[in-house]
């Protein structure tokens, strides 16, 4: 009988110990890795009306790095992030093609926002909620880095900085270079 109670106590002790270890290992709120099922996949189609009437199509930027940014004028971190996007944007003298999607926002407000805060890259507004779901947008702002091969390379949740994005591209290009030079490349043709 003594043996049995010792064994049962030991089982409970080990189970509780395991639990403690799992808890101790778990990062406390907010530090979780950014994950998305669409990473590495071909970026979902992105077409729509530009602010000024023309059409925007992600496919037309194939062959270059594109940052797809989801934002809204009513979202404070999006407003904070905006100058960084201006710094990045090729259309405003930066080195990267930026495409923005106004999520659940009115065209008039977005137009006013861009007029006030600068930025001349393509912006899709209007019925854009569907696009957000296609990309798996959880909370604004969110940005997706699409590689020259048309695949989603990275996802950024929350406000980004220009440096964060350019560093990422430099790293990815260096890796891709090393990859193709070594052997079996998993890269798509055209990368």
């Amino acid at each position: 009988m003594k043996h049995r109670s010792v064994i049962v106590a030991a089982i409970f002790g080990v189970a509780a110990l395991g639990l403690v270890i799992v808890f101790a290992m778990s990062p406390a709120g907010g530090n979780k890795d950014v994950r998305s099922p669409i990473l590495g996949k071909v970026a979902p189609a992105l077409t729509g009306q530009n602010l000024h009437g023309g059409t925007v199509d992600l496919d037309s930027f194939k062959g270059e790095w594109v940052l797809v940014n989801f934002f809204a004028t009513w979202c404070p971190p999006c407003v904070l992030e905006h100058p960084e996007l201006v710094r990045l944007s090729k259309d405003d003298g930066g080195q990267l093609q930026v495409v923005s999607v106004g999520f659940q926002d009115s065209t008039a407000k977005v137009k006013e926002f861009f007029a006030d805060n600068g930025g001349s890259w393509p912006v899709i507004t209007g019925d854009s909620g569907q696009i957000g779901l296609e990309y798996g947008v959880k909370a604004l702002p969110e940005s997706f880095l699409v590689g020259p091969n048309g695949r989603v390379i990275a996802k950024f949740e929350g406000g980004i900085t220009a440096k964060q994005v350019t560093d990422y591209i430099t790293k990815a290009e260096a890796e891709a270079g090393a990859d193709t030079s070594s052997s079996k490349s998993s890269q798509e043709p055209g990368s």
């Binding site: 109670s5 030991a10 409970f12 002790g13 403690v20 808890f23 101790a24 778990s26 406390a28 994950r35």
Partner: protein, 652 residues
């Protein structure tokens, strides 16, 4: 000034607990009774410290003393009086302070109750354990969760006030104290259990000592959980009363093990069996309250109720690990003395039913625990992210819940030791008809669906059993047939059955819809019509409210609100609920009318029978109070198992 006062209080509490432990251990070693006799005095010192700290915090909150960081973060000049008092437990540090004063209160009452028996090692050890717990919590407040951290506010600074969700309803002022009275209350039986293990007096004496304390803590925990459900129903509105949120689960876990204990302890009192099991249940209950606090405070799991992280997490986790290690170690060490005296004669007996009940409660606790921590385990082991949500919990707990209802029907009529089939059939005859009647009634009223009908039938069966017991007891004993553990227990059963049936009904037959209504427009849902009359805004001290007037069935006017809190800028809807015996109608504004779009976004939910959850809760509490009153006089030591002479000596 307030800060100095508060810190002094904390230091007195911390120091007092340490001194108390030294004195009590000294008393044990030197066998000097005079040292132990001071137990009550030590507890009063600790209580005085806790009261001083709480008074300082309340003064600081009342004066909006922003030189204290906690007040700067949780106070605001616009917060109304009641919520300003409740601001003390609306964030991490203050809620630990609440924990501290409740613990000090419990220690003082226990020390007072046992003041004449301070020469008994069991009692001394129990007090030592309680003071040790108190050292931990006061230590926590002096280090990682200090409520009196200094702050130098800019001139004209005004705080944001408590979280808007927490200022939205009066219930928030009462839910945490209730819950904590329950959580902390389990310290007392736990302390006696550990003391019994240490002194080796693991017989039935310590059980009788703590029976009422356990019921008391259990009652408050029940009240706290139900108030919490009510709060989320009234305030969150959309998600209903129970969302299987990690923090809600954390409060449910000790309740499950505590409820299992309340039942299985009767087997030990009567038959001397299940000693290891009962000790384990108590230790599990107390450690689960600490684990629950850890989950709420560490930010490991995401939850509506969770407070932001800090260095509190590792400390609480360490304390949890310590409690488990001590409990498991002691139970393993005393294993040989914990051998049962009695044995079970038949599965069809009262004790057999209690065993089944314990199995189901343990299973429920296991499922809830597994579902809560499973995402963390998968993340740690495989690196995958997955969610375990309400569909999982509902599917897993429903069969277990129905089994419990069924046991509730059978168990009360079972005699101890062994029951014959004939006896069972005789006693269950009317309860069974009650079940059939309830099934017929619900079918006639239009209820469909296997789960709901099973719940109604078995619920009726169980209610029949409980009524039968109450009727027989009152017929024999008059009003005394209502008090005492077993009779009060039947009233608690009735409350539980009400809640079970109401849960089944509200989950199965709820209907909901979302509408966009222009002024004067009507929508139809669940046999009701909903018409948007008009809306206006009202400015309050701390918020601006949009109030819409909605006419339901062309009679009753509902006024759901959308509040925008000035201090934080957050928008929080206040749903409008009108309760009825058959169903509640809940209206909640989803989008306010604007200049562009004058129509109102409205969500309508028709919840059947929800009122009966709260009524059931009240009945449970009433039953608990009845159970705490002593029933027919009976020598508690007249148990079946022969106690050893030593136990007889001490537990009187």
């Amino acid at each position: 000034m307030n800060r100095a006062l508060g810190l002094t209080g904390l230091i007195i509490g911390f120091g007092g607990s340490i001194v108390a432990i030294f004195m009590l251990i000294g008393a044990l070693r030197t066998r000097r009774a005079d040292l132990a006799k001071m137990g009550r005095a030590y507890s009063l010192v600790v209580l005085a410290g806790a009261v001083l700290a709480v008074v300082a915090m309340q003064l600081a909150l009342a004066q909006r003393d922003y030189t204290i960081l906690y007040v700067a973060q949780n106070g605001s000049s616009t917060t109304p009086f009641l919520f300003n008092v409740a601001a003390m437990w609306s964030a991490l540090e203050g809620s630990i302070l609440l924990w501290g004063i409740i613990l000090a209160g419990y220690i003082t009452v226990v020390a007072h109750k046992v003041r004449k028996r301070m020469d008994d090692p069991l009692v001394i050890w129990a007090l030592i354990v309680m003071f040790a717990v108190s050292i931990f919590f006061f230590g926590l407040m002096l280090t990682a969760a200090n409520p009196f951290v200094a702050n130098s506010p800019a001139p004209g600074f005004d705080g944001p006030g408590p979280n808007p969700l927490l200022q939205n309803h009066v219930l928030m002022a009462f839910h945490p104290p209730m819950l904590y009275l329950g959580y902390v209350g389990f310290t007392v039986p736990f302390a006696f259990a550990i003391a019994a293990l240490i002194t080796g007096r693991v017989g039935e004496g310590w059980l009788i000592e703590t029976r009422r304390w356990t019921l008391f803590a259990w009652g408050f925990l029940t009240a706290g959980i139900i108030l919490g459900a009510w709060w989320s129903y009234e305030v969150l509105g959309w998600g209903g009363y129970w969302g299987w949120d990690p923090v809600e689960n954390a409060s449910l876990l000790p309740w499950l093990t505590g409820t299992a204990y309340i039942h299985s302890v009767m087997v030990q009192e009567r038959r001397g069996m299940l000693r290891v099991w009962n000790l384990s249940l108590l230790c599990a209950t107390f450690s689960l309250t600490i684990l629950g606090t850890f989950l709420t405070r560490s930010g490991v799991v995401q939850s509506v109720h969770a407070f932001t992280a800090g260095s509190v997490g590792p400390l609480l986790l360490g304390f949890f690990a310590l409690i488990v290690a001590v409990s498991v170690g002691l139970i393993g060490w005393r294993g040989d003395q914990l051998r049962s005296v009695g044995r079970i004669d038949s599965a069809v007996s009262r004790e057999g039913a209690f065993l089944a009940n314990n199995l189901v409660f343990a299973a429920l606790a296991f499922v809830v625990m597994l579902g809560t921590v499973f995402p963390l385990i998968v993340e740690a082991v495989a690196g995958d992210a997955l969610s375990v949500g309400p569909p999982y919990f509902n599917r897993m707990t429903m069969p277990l819940g129905l089994t419990l209802l069924f046991l509730m029907a059978i168990a009360p009529v079972l005699p101890w030791r062994k029951a014959s089939g004939e006896l069972l059939r005789e006693r269950l005859w009317w309860p069974a008809w009650f079940g059939i009647g309830s099934l017929a009634l619900s079918v006639v009223l239009g209820a469909r669906g296997i789960a709901a009908l099973l719940a109604f039938t078995i619920g009726g069966f169980a209610a029949g059993s409980a009524f039968r017991q109450i009727a027989l007891a009152t017929r024999r004993q008059g009003w005394r047939g209502l008090v005492g553990r077993a009779n009060g227990g039947m009233v608690v059963h009735l409350g539980t059955i009400m809640i079970g049936v109401a849960l089944a009904a509200s989950m199965s037959f709820m209907s909901q819809g979302e509408f966009t209504l222009a002024r004067g427009e009507t929508a139809h849902i669940g046999g009701h019509t909903v018409r948007y009359v008009d809306s206006h805004t009202v400015e309050y001290n701390n918020r601006i409210s949009l109030i819409a007037r909605i006419k339901v069935d062309d009679k009753v006017v509902y006024e759901p609100r959308l509040n925008r809190f000035r201090a934080s800028g957050q928008t929080v809807p206040t749903p409008s609920v009108k309760a009825g015996p058959r169903s509640d109608i809940m209206l909640s504004i989803t989008s306010a009318p604007s200049e562009d779009d004058p129509s109102l976004g409205l969500r309508v939910i028709v919840w059947p029978m929800v009122t009966w959850i709260w009524v059931g809760g009240l009945v449970m509490l009433f039953g608990t109070v009845l159970a705490i009153f002593p029933g027919k006089r009976r020598n508690p030591l007249q148990a079946v198992s022969e106690p050893t002479p030593m136990e007889l000596e001490h537990s009187r």
